[in-house]
């Protein structure tokens, strides 16, 4: 292997600095959340303790954190499931040109680029004027989908642009129906990418702030609850909450990535299942 050029080391250092910039602040609040009982929002650490985490579990101290966590978790799962199903169907639809597919594509792009406050404001207005109650599971759910669906769709585009249609043709030649082709050929092949779509669906919903702000009604989701805390909580308890929910996000992301890795490993080990039937 040829020796690495000098530019490699300069760029590697730049990359390292960028990663530090990316994670540094998160690590800082991770450390500060273990501040002693007398400590403040910045260094120095006045001892270490689990005091601020303990305070999180005393419900009355800082609002309804656990309720908002349960809502965010449920909403994340709802958005995730919907995003996967709708994106796969949309991705399949866009494989062939149909009347209006161009318009629909640009509509999806519009959903991606439209300022989030417009979605929030507009959905809120539609629901109030129609006399429907504003609730995180209805208006909030729909508003978040306008952000997660385009991402899911873009992933599906990337997947199907690289999809070899020979597999489907082979299945069709063997007499498989359209549904059988999708169920036994297309879905198994794209399964790892679906985990990616699911990851986007869950995390983007779980962390969404702007689109939920005017569409969640009287019950806050977790990001709204945390944002509310920034105005009236001046102790490291907010860092403890931040650390906890970031750790939760890391666990979720890790679980998704691990499952993709396992899927790919299993696939590599088993190789082709030709001749084994379905």
């Amino acid at each position: 292997m040829e020796p690495r050029p000098r530019s490699f080391y300069i760029l590697a250092a730049f990359f390292g600095l960028y990663v530090l910039f990316l994670y540094g602040p998160t690590i800082t609040i991770g450390i500060l959340s273990f501040q002693g009982p007398g400590g403040g929002l910045t260094f120095p650490m006045r001892g270490t303790s689990l005091n601020w985490f303990r305070e999180l579990f005393e419900t009355q101290a800082v609002g309804d954190i656990w309720g908002s966590f349960r809502r965010s978790f449920a909403l994340g799962l709802m958005v995730m499931a919907t995003t996967v199903i709708v994106s796969v169907m949309g991705g399949l639809a866009f494989r062939k040109r149909f009347i209006g597919s161009g318009v629909l594509f640009y509509l999806a792009i519009t959903a991606l680029v439209i300022p989030s406050i417009l979605v929030s404001l507009g959905v809120g207005l539609v629901f109030t004027q129609a006399g429907l109650p504003i609730h995180w599971a209805t208006s909030g759910f729909g508003a978040q989908l306008t952000w997660t669906l385009p991402f899911g769709l873009l992933v599906m585009f990337a997947v199907f642009n690289r999809f070899n249609p020979a597999y489907e043709e082979a299945a069709r030649d063997q007499g498989a129906s359209a549904w059988q082709v999708v169920r036994h050929v297309v879905l198994p092949i794209i399964a790892p990418s679906l985990m990616g779509v699911a990851l986007f669906g869950f995390t983007l919903s779980y962390d969404e702030f702007a689109r939920t702000l005017l569409t969640s009604g009287s019950y806050n989701t977790l990001p709204l609850e945390i944002y509310g805390m920034t105005t009236n909580v001046t102790t490291p308890v907010i860092f403890a909450l931040g650390t906890l929910t970031t750790a939760f996000s890391f666990v979720v992301i890790g679980a998704f990535l691990l499952s993709v890795w396992v899927m790919n490993r299993r696939r590599a080990r088993h190789g082709s299942d030709a001749g084994k039937g379905v």
């Binding site: 994670y23 669906l149 970031t246």
Partner: protein
């Protein structure tokens, strides 16, 4: 009947139906609603249907509007330049200097993971760093670079832009990396064989071929910054304004019609920028 069901137009629409439904109810309808409400009038307690240009007259008649729009564009341009510089460099390193695909994927994932965590918390995380007694100030003080804490680190334009770059550089890295990975390596070898220097290869081969990725990243970053209101409110400590904040302030005062008028103007500005950029790149081909 069966013949119609087999037509690609019908199957296309059937498969896309859920997507159409969601976008119709939660995107098209709300935007139309905002358009309509922008002509309504507000009383102290409610909003009443009307056909009045009052909101727009007030919006365009106020000097604040122009300042705020200018400020929004200024943030967008500065953040765009910074994210492009950082994003291109990072993507370039990953695509051309990291040698195995496994490492490329692993390092790209390291860059992506924070994107899947909470933006609000990532903004809060800057407080212990930039605050008056924060890490940056105490480090600079102990190094003797400054005699007293810098006041402009937190709750300033500086911190707003820092947070924007922190949150949005990933939107540059991934599209640029995606196009760079598809550049045929033999083109670079050919350029080197023909005697091109590293800088010439970068300028004449890699950058032109990376343009689509740069365009997609640009669309993301510009629209996210122009449409933001949380980052500016939080990181400026409510001292700076952009259009998003103008809208959310009106919403806070229940002035929905005037918020809607501002939103319509903002939407037009964003769509004009995107329309311009889309003429330079075919997104569907680039995925």
């Amino acid at each position: 009947m069966l013949r119609y069901l087999k037509s690609p137009d019908v199957t296309g629409w059937l498969l896309a139906a859920p997507l159409v439904l969601v976008l119709a109810v939660f995107l098209v309808l709300p935007v139309l609603m905002i358009g309509v409400v922008s002509f309504w009038q507000a009383t102290e307690f409610s909003i009443v249907p009307a056909l009045s240009l009052e909101n727009y007259e007030f919006l365009f008649g106020s000097a604040v509007t122009y300042d705020v729009f200018w400020n929004t564009f200024r943030y967008a341009l500065i953040v765009w330049a910074l994210t492009l510089g950082i994003g291109f460099t990072v993507a370039f390193f990953l695509a051309f200097h990291v040698r195995t695909l496994t490492w490329q994927i692993a390092l790209a994932l390291i860059c992506t993971v924070p994107f899947w965590t909470s933006n609000v918390i990532r903004m809060i995380s800057w407080i212990p760093f930039l605050g008056r007694n924060g890490i940056a100030n105490s480090t600079l003080l102990s190094m003797g670079v400054i005699d007293q804490p810098l006041e402009w680190l937190l709750f300033s334009d500086f911190s707003v832009i820092l947070a924007f770059v922190h949150l949005n550089t990933i939107f540059m890295i991934i599209p640029i990396l995606n196009t760079m990975m598809r550049i045929d390596r033999s083109l670079i070898e050919a350029a080197r064989d023909a005697g091109a220097s590293g800088a010439q290869i970068l300028w004449n081969v890699i950058i032109p071929l990376t343009k689509p990725g740069i365009m997609i990243g640009t669309i993301f970053v510009l629209t996210l910054v122009m449409g933001d209101f949380v980052t500016v409110r939080f990181m400026s400590g409510s001292q700076s304004a952009n259009v998003g904040r103008l809208i959310s302030n009106d919403v806070g005062l229940l002035q929905y019609p005037s918020a809607s008028a501002t939103a319509v103007v903002l939407l037009c500005a964003v769509l004009m920028v995107v329309g311009l950029l889309l003429r330079l790149v075919d997104i569907r081909k680039e995925l």
